[in-house]
C-alpha cells in the first residue's frame, strides 16, 4: 500500500495533525498493521519536500507531532492520478507452495501430506477471518472477504494439485 498517497487522500477532507492522520489511517486501513509514528513523520517530511502538503499551523509545544498539514493542489492531482492508475495484478508465478510440492516429489518426501498441512493452515486462517467478519462492521467484512477469496483460490489450487500429484511426479522425474 502506498502510505504517502493514503495519507494525502486523508488530508483532502481538511488539514490534520500527524497524530490525527495516524489515527485515521489505523482506523480505516491499519487493521492488523498500525502505522508507526516514525513512518507518519518521515512520510509527511517527504510529502512536504515534494510540495504535496504544506504546514498549515504549528501548535504551541513545538515537536513534529504538533504540526498541522494541509494538502496542496499538486497533492490533490497526485492522489487523483494514483486512484486512476490500476494496480498491477499479482501474477503469482513464483509460488513457494509450488516449489515445495516439486521439491517434496523430487526428494521422495510426502507431497500429499504437505498439501494437507497447508490446507489445514489455510482453513485455520479462514475460520479466524470468518469469526472476525461475523463480529465486525462492513469495513471489516470487506477486508476479510478480500482475504477469504484469496485464501479460497489458494485452496482450490491445493485441491487441484492434490488431484494431479501422480502426473506431476511422473513429469518432473523424466
Amino acid at each position: 500500500m502506498s502510505i504517502g498517497h493514503t495519507l494525502l487522500g486523508l488530508l483532502e477532507s481538511g488539514p490534520r495533525h500527524g497524530y490525527d492522520l495516524k489515527r485515521a489511517f489505523d482506523e480505516k486501513f491499519g487493521h492488523d498493521r498500525p502505522l508507526h509514528y516514525g513512518q507518519v513523520y518521515s512520510t509527511m517530511s517527504r510529502l512536504l519536500k515534494n510540495g504535496l502538503v504544506v504546514v498549515d499551523g504549528i501548535e504551541a509545544g513545538g515537536g513534529p507531532e504538533r504540526k498541522r498539514y494541509a494538502i496542496t493542489e499538486a497533492g490533490i492531482t497526485d492522489v487523483a492520478q494514483w486512484l486512476a492508475t490500476p494496480e498491477k495484478p499479482e501474477p503469482y508465478l513464483q509460488s513457494t507452495l509450488y516449489t515445495k510440492v516439486v521439491l517434496a516429489l523430487l526428494t521422495g518426501r510426502g507431497a500429499a501430506e504437505l498439501l494437507d498441512t497447508q490446507r489445514a493452515e489455510h482453513l485455520r486462517l479462514m475460520r479466524e477471518l470468518t469469526r472476525r467478519k461475523k463480529d465486525g462492521d462492513l469495513a471489516d467484512q470487506l477486508i476479510c472477504d478480500h482475504a477469504l477469496f484469496h485464501l479460497e483460490a489458494d485452496l482450490r489450487w491445493l485441491e487441484l494439485t492434490a488431484a494431479r500429484l501422480d502426473r506431476l511426479a511422473e513429469e518432473i522425474r523424466r
Partner: protein, 227 residues
C-alpha cells in the same frame, strides 16, 4: 479428545454396485460442534452423511449415536430417530410446494404428533429467528432461493435436534445469501447445542465450522478421532 463424541463412526464401508463409495471411514462429532466434511466431487462425502444420519445402511463398520449402535437399529427405529433427534438441510427441493412456509416448518412437529396450533407457533418463532418471518403465509414458489433455504434451516431446527445434517446447504445460493444461511445456521446450532455435520466443497462455507475432515476416495482421516 476432551468430551465423548455424540456421534461416532468407525471403519465405514459402502459400495454401490462395483463402485466403492466409502472404504474405511472414521468420523466423530461432539455435541455443539460444527464439523465440515470436505473433499472432491464423488469422494464419498454425501454417502458418509447418509450413513451417519441412518438414511443408508453401511456394508461394514459401526455408527454409535449417544451410546446406541445406530447400525444395529431396525429401519423403523432409525426412521423414528431421524424424526426426533436429527435435522436435515439439503441443497434443493426440500420444501413441500403445496404447503405455506409456516406449514413446512411445522411439518416435522406435526409428524411427531404435535397439535397444529402449538406446532405452528413454534414454527413462527423459528422463522423469525432465521429472519424470514415475512414468508410464513407464502408458498415456497413465492419466495427467493435464499429465503427458501432459511425456511429449510428453520424446519431442520424446529424439533430441537441434537444433530443437524447439512449437505451443500449453500450450493444453490449466491455468496451473500450463502453466508447469511451459514451465519444463521451455525449461530442457531451453537445456541441450541446441536452438532452440525456440514458437507461442502466450498472453503468459505467450511470456514464456519470448528474443524474439517477430508474425504478422499471414500476414506476419511479424522484427526480428532485419531487423537
Amino acid at each position: 479428545m476432551t468430551a465423548t463424541p455424540l456421534l461416532r463412526a468407525v471403519g465405514l464401508a459402502k459400495t454401490y454396485g462395483p463402485t466403492p463409495a466409502l472404504a474405511g471411514a472414521d468420523f466423530s462429532i461432539r455435541a455443539g460442534e460444527v464439523v465440515a466434511v470436505m473433499g472432491p466431487s464423488g469422494s464419498g462425502k454425501s454417502t458418509l452423511l447418509h450413513c451417519l444420519a441412518g438414511i443408508v445402511r453401511p456394508d461394514a463398520g459401526t455408527i454409535t449415536y449417544d451410546g446406541r449402535e445406530l447400525t444395529a437399529l431396525s429401519d423403523g427405529a432409525r426412521s423414528s430417530l431421524r424424526r426426533t433427534d436429527f435435522g436435515f438441510v439439503f441443497q434443493f427441493g426440500q420444501l413441500v410446494p403445496e404447503l405455506t412456509c409456516v406449514e413446512n416448518v411445522a411439518l416435522p412437529l406435526r409428524l411427531n404428533g404435535e397439535k397444529r396450533k402449538a406446532a405452528e407457533a413454534r414454527a413462527v418463532e423459528w422463522l423469525a429467528r432465521l429472519e424470514v418471518d415475512d414468508t410464513a403465509a407464502k408458498r415456497p414458489g413465492e419466495i427467493s432461493g435464499g429465503q427458501g433455504q432459511r425456511v429449510a434451516v428453520a424446519r431442520a431446527l424446529v424439533t430441537s435436534p441434537r444433530v443437524i445434517f447439512a449437505d451443500e446447504p449453500t450450493g444453490a445460493l449466491d455468496s451473500l445469501n450463502g453466508e447469511r444461511v451459514m451465519r444463521l445456521l451455525t449461530d442457531a446450532s451453537r445456541d441450541t447445542g446441536a452438532a452440525v455435520v456440514l458437507v461442502t466443497h466450498e472453503a468459505r462455507v467450511a470456514a464456519y465450522s470448528d474443524r474439517e475432515i477430508v474425504v478422499r476416495d471414500g476414506s476419511v482421516r479424522d484427526a480428532e478421532w485419531a487423537a
